[in-house]
């Protein structure tokens, strides 16, 4: 590239310049360097800003080396080589980062001027004869002129190449974007530009759109979205900063099908009175996204409906199902009260069974309701688990005292939980241990906690990206066969007869639900006759 910029070979070899260069090299090197430096500062050439990090001494040393290089080449009569060398230096000095053409030529002119001035400055020290002086000056002028033209040519080519690159990039750019890119002439409502994506996605070409005439926009945009589109373009027209307007609208394809798009529009050209001339836009096809959005909306609606149905069911269960049951027990109760004497023993037993069964069913319905209601409150707050446990123990005071139970507890940490639910959780686990104790043996429950590692979390099928707190409740009760460990959390499931141990079998189901709400887990391990361990694991 540079070789093409080199000027034609000079016809006459300079006579004076090599000798003058030799003279400067031998006698005036420092002064010549200093003069150039002085002139650089005087001229305030833009190139100097790239050297602002250097001290004056460092600059002097750099120029000193360059001067030796220049003068040596000139001394050897290698003028062309000197020109080439200078240009090479200027390119590496980032002369071309001054992107505007006029800046570069200014720089080159200044640099050449400085060299010329420095050369001319010392001529009187070299020759006093005016004839000689004129000869030297003309040779210097000729050389510097060549240098200047070669440099400008070189930099012009560099600049041109870069512009071509930019233009090519500018043309290719819209084609690689996922957007449809379009430009409209607003004065004539004519399409100016469309990228390939427009044809790819909508099937329209510049020709088909041109054929629509001045109302192309009205024809392409869904009637329901037109008002919003016009509103946004009007905003673009009046905005001074040419801000980008974003809107969603449906655009018709060649087969009359609408595509949902997200449009970004702005004014790309205005006249001197700020009147908008060109509208530039990019549109992203979001049809799939919209479909998914609508699908999600529909599913949310269904879910809400289903939740409402569930609430209704819960209400029906609480009211309508309980109503006849209440009557059964109330009348059986009345019968027992009023006509006790008219009933024989068997009659009394039968009646008693009716009362107990209906009571039991009442309790089960209440439990079902408790389960369905437990999901409704989900307010997480930082809780000191020791206090939560204390509250749970308070509700069990009577049975603890009655059974002379001993409960040992290590200090528990504070974590974010739904406090009321965790209180229920602790109560049911403790209640379970207190209930299923060995006959004639005081229940002992030990509560301990620890944070679990990644490996253990993985073994328990928990996400390894979270940290977990595990709380173990170990008791000395009757225990159970490990094969039933999963079964005990299912609603109304019991491992023992209800006459043996009372209850509907809801407690551990509530525990499971509470842990589900906390995105944690509950598990149990047991051995018949040796007690069991209930473990609850909370993400923290």
């Amino acid at each position: 590239m540079q070789s093409s910029a080199i000027t034609k070979k000079t016809k006459t070899q300079p006579k004076h310049l090599p000798r003058y260069a030799g003279f400067l090299l031998e006698h005036m090197l420092d002064a010549f360097t200093r003069k150039q430096l002085e002139l650089c500062f005087e001229q305030e050439i833009p190139l100097m800003k790239h050297f602002s990090f250097m001290t004056e001494n460092e600059l002097f040393n750099l120029l000193h080396l360059r001067s030796i290089e220049t003068l040596t080449l000139l001394f050897q009569g290698k003028n062309e080589a000197q020109i080439q060398q200078s240009i090479k230096r200027w390119v590496s000095d980032k002369l071309d980062t001054e992107s505007r053409y006029s800046n570069i030529t200014d720089n080159i002119t200044s640099l050449c001027f400085i060299q010329k001035q420095a050369f001319i400055h010392f001529i009187p020290n070299y020759k006093q004869d005016p004839k000689d002086i004129i000869s030297v000056i003309s040779e210097i002028n000729e050389h510097i002129f060549k240098l200047e033209s070669a440099a400008i040519k070189t930099f012009s080519i560099l600049l041109e190449n870069r512009l071509t690159q930019q233009t090519q990039l500018g043309e290719k750019f819209p084609e690689v974007l996922p957007f449809m890119v379009f430009a409209f002439d607003l004065t004539e409502y004519k399409p100016l530009y469309f990228n390939k994506k427009v044809t790819e996605l909508l099937g329209h070409t510049k020709e088909t759109i041109e054929a629509m005439g001045s109302d192309a926009i009205v024809r392409l945009i869904h009637p329901d979205d037109l008002a919003s589109f016009i509103d946004h373009t009007n905003k673009s027209f009046s905005s001074i900063e040419d801000e980008i307007q974003v809107l969603e609208c449906r655009i018709k394809d060649i087969e009359e099908q609408y595509h949902w798009t997200q449009c970004f529009i702005t004014i790309s050209k205005r006249d001197e009175n700020q009147k908008a001339l060109h509208l530039l836009g990019a549109a992203l096809d979001i049809t799939r996204q919209k479909e998914m959005e609508n699908d999600l909306k529909y599913k949310t609606f269904l879910l809400q409906q289903s939740n409402a149905n569930l609430e209704e069911f819960a209400y029906i269960a609480s009211h309508d199902l309980k109503e006849p049951l209440r009557k059964i027990s109330a009348f059986a109760d009345r019968l027992l009260e009023r006509h006790k004497d008219n009933l024989n023993d068997e009659g009394k037993i039968f009646l008693d069974k009716i009362v107990t069964s209906s009571m039991r069913m009442q309790a089960m319905i209440t439990d079902l309701l408790t389960i369905s209601r437990i999901s409704s409150n989900k307010t997480f707050e930082e809780c000191n688990l020791n206090n939560v446990l204390k509250e749970s123990l308070k509700t069990l005071e009577l049975i603890i005292e009655k059974k002379k139970a001993r409960i040992e507890c290590d200090p528990l940490p504070s974590i974010r939980v739904i406090s009321a639910q965790v209180q229920q959780l602790f109560r049911h686990i403790l209640d379970n241990s207190l209930k299923f104790c060995k006959q004639g043996m005081a229940p002992e429950i030990k509560i301990s906690s620890r944070y679990i590692g990644d490996k253990e979390a993985l073994e328990l099928n928990l996400s390894s990206s979270k940290k977990y707190l595990r709380i173990d409740f170990t008791d000395n009760g009757i225990g159970f066969e490990n094969q039933f460990a999963g079964k005990i959390f299912t609603i109304f499931q019991r491992l023992h007869g209800k006459n043996e141990y009372p209850g509907t079998g809801i407690g551990l189901t509530i525990c499971k639900k509470v842990m589900d709400n906390h995105e944690g887990m509950i598990c149990a391990q047991g051995k018949p006759g040796e007690g069991c361990i209930f473990s609850v694991i909370f993400p923290v």
């Binding site: 209400y315 609480s318 009211h319 209440r326 009557k327 109330a330 109760d333 009345r334 009260e337 209906s358």
Partner: protein, 139 residues
């Protein structure tokens, strides 16, 4: 006491419940003029037709009834200057907290879930009578 002019309205769509309730009151010798009403519409009609000095001393109101239910009737009674002073005790099968909140916000004087046994009902009616039933000084 038997010929007391004070009346107690028992508003419930369930005949058994109406009778049980009256019986429970009578167990503790609370002899009043018990009037059975089957739904909200009938209740409002009854109150409207009644003369000013013959307002009932107590209304026992079920919530879920066909047509105008207990909530609607309660709202009308408690927002009407003529009736709002009449004590209304809501007696329902519902255990829902929401029903309780709604009832109190509409101005109910008490919300009670119907008990499962008759003996409990007797206890409850006795309490209600002591709180809201006015007996003549001679009684």
């Amino acid at each position: 006491m038997n010929n007391s002019s004070h009346s107690v309205l028992i508003v419930d769509d369930d005949e058994d419940d109406r009778e049980s309730l009256r019986d429970a009151f009578l167990e503790n010798q609370h002899h009043q003029n018990y009037i059975f009403i089957e739904n909200g519409t009938e209740l409002i009609d009854f109150l409207d037709k009644n003369q000013k000095n013959k307002h009932p001393s107590l209304i026992l109101l079920d919530l879920n009834m066909p047509g105008k239910d207990g909530r609607d009737a309660l709202k009308e009674i408690k927002s009407n200057k003529r009736f709002y002073h009449i004590p209304v005790v809501v007696l329902t099968t519902s255990t829902s907290l929401r029903d309780m909140q709604i009832s109190y916000s509409l101005g109910a004087n008490c919300f009670i879930t119907k008990p499962n046994t008759y003996s409990k009902l007797v206890d409850i009616t006795n309490c209600i009578a002591k709180l809201w039933l006015v007996y003549p000084p001679s009684a």
